[in-house]
């Protein structure tokens, strides 16, 4: 399964695409954990002191928010799912 990273998250990880060992049938939470295991340097940017995803970080599964339209961390992944993380940018 592949994660896409945007803006400063891609800068921090040094890549826009991260392949993680997650398969169809695994959960979104498992794929998320493996992203942070693969790139622990992202942890501080993505998680707050309580281990929750920071309010300004948006997570996506197939271009929608799994915490709104699916079952959040418990969402069961399907083949060809597209996972992404992005922060806002403010430049003008």
């Amino acid at each position: 399964m592949e994660w896409r990273l945007f803006a400063n998250l891609a800068e921090t990880a040094g890549t826009k695409r991260v392949e993680v060992a997650a398969e169809p049938g695994d959960t979104f939470g498992e794929a998320f954990d493996r992203l942070l295991e693969t790139h622990p340097e992202l942890r501080e940017e993505i998680l707050d002191e309580d281990g929750d995803i920071r309010d300004h970080i948006r997570v996506l599964r197939n271009d929608s928010n799994p915490f709104v339209v699916d079952d959040g961390y418990d969402t069961v992944l399907e083949a060809d799912d597209d996972l992404a993380l992005f922060p806002p940018v403010s430049g003008g």
């Binding site: 945007f6 803006a7 400063n8 800068e11 826009k16 940017e45 920071r54 309010d55 300004h56 948006r58 996506l60 271009d63 929608s64 928010n65 709104v68 339209v69 992404a84 992005f86 922060p87 806002p88 940018v89 403010s90 430049g91 003008g92």
Partner: protein
């Protein structure tokens, strides 16, 4: 409505007038429109340039900066002789040379919680090309609460984010659309310093040209009431990969701005740090 276009206007806007989707009525609608551009920088430049060329009759321009030489790599309405001049004055002069039909209303001020309400209430549409999170949350909150539609664009390095919020009814009205708004995407701003800005991380000079043109396109379509806007969607543009990606923007049921029962005024919000609403 300015259905009676002058011979000069029929000539100037002939490529619009000939289109079924615009026509003399649509052009009259553009000439009668009032749009507030927040920021006359990288994004504001193409927005102002194309809205003025299109004949948007009244253009408010809010910016408290002066033109710096480091702006000129991307802020295409300002030139070398404008360095040191207020951006709103330089922008006004640019538009005067470009299209005498346009009435520019310069607001040489920083948009604040104290003045944002009066500013946005005076316009049909707001285009946010500001350069900091505080202003972006302020614009979202003020426009959403008042029911003023706005177009959002933001850039960093090679990437741009673009969307539109079409709500035209105040949140406290029973007929309000109830979102989404920018806070449904990002409830809070990053802590200052955690997400870099263009001054520290840089920006490809042509990037705001692309993003600003999409913003101007959205604005013109909204004024013409034609086509499908980005309402409910955000487009990510990556100039490095030359890819456009679209994501869904869903209303957040507990959003304290676009949903009923939330804040009633920007005066209730502290915009100095994360712009959080507890």
């Amino acid at each position: 409505m300015s259905l009676d276009l002058t011979p000069e206007q029929l000539d100037r806007y002939s490529r619009h007038v000939i289109m079924d989707e615009v026509g003399p009525e649509g052009q009259g609608r553009l000439l009668d429109a009032r749009v507030l551009c927040i920021g006359a920088g990288g994004l504001g430049s193409p927005v102002i340039q194309y809205l003025a060329a299109a004949g948007v009759g009244s253009l408010g321009i809010a910016d408290d900066d002066v033109v710096e030489r480091s702006n000129l790599q991307r802020q295409v309405i300002h030139g070398d002789p404008d360095v040191g001049r207020p951006k709103v004055v330089s922008a006004r002069d640019f538009v005067a040379r470009q299209n005498p039909d346009i009435d520019v209303e310069p607001h040489e001020t920083r948009v604040t919680a104290e003045n944002v309400g009066d500013l946005v209430a005076d316009y049909d549409l707001v285009v946010d090309g500001s350069d900091n999170f505080a202003t972006r949350y302020l614009v979202n909150d003020a426009c959403t609460l008042a029911g003023v539609p706005f177009v959002h664009g933001a850039i960093l390095r090679f990437e741009g984010q673009m969307t539109t919020f079409e709500a035209t009814t105040p949140v406290d009205d029973p007929d309000a659309d109830n979102g989404p708004c920018y806070r449904c995407l990002f409830p809070e701003a990053p802590e200052p310093g955690t997400v870099p800005d263009c001054a520290t991380a840089g920006v490809l000079g042509v990037l705001p040209g692309t993003v600003g043109c999409v913003m101007a396109t959205e604005a013109v379509k909204l004024l013409l009431d034609h086509g499908d806007s980005l309402d409910g969607r955000m487009v990510f543009y990556d100039a490095e990969d030359m890819t456009f990606r679209e994501i869904q923007v869903e209303p957040r049921p507990d959003c304290p701005v676009c949903q009923p029962g939330g804040v009633e005024s920007v005066a209730e919000v502290d915009y100095r740090e994360s712009c959080a609403i507890e």
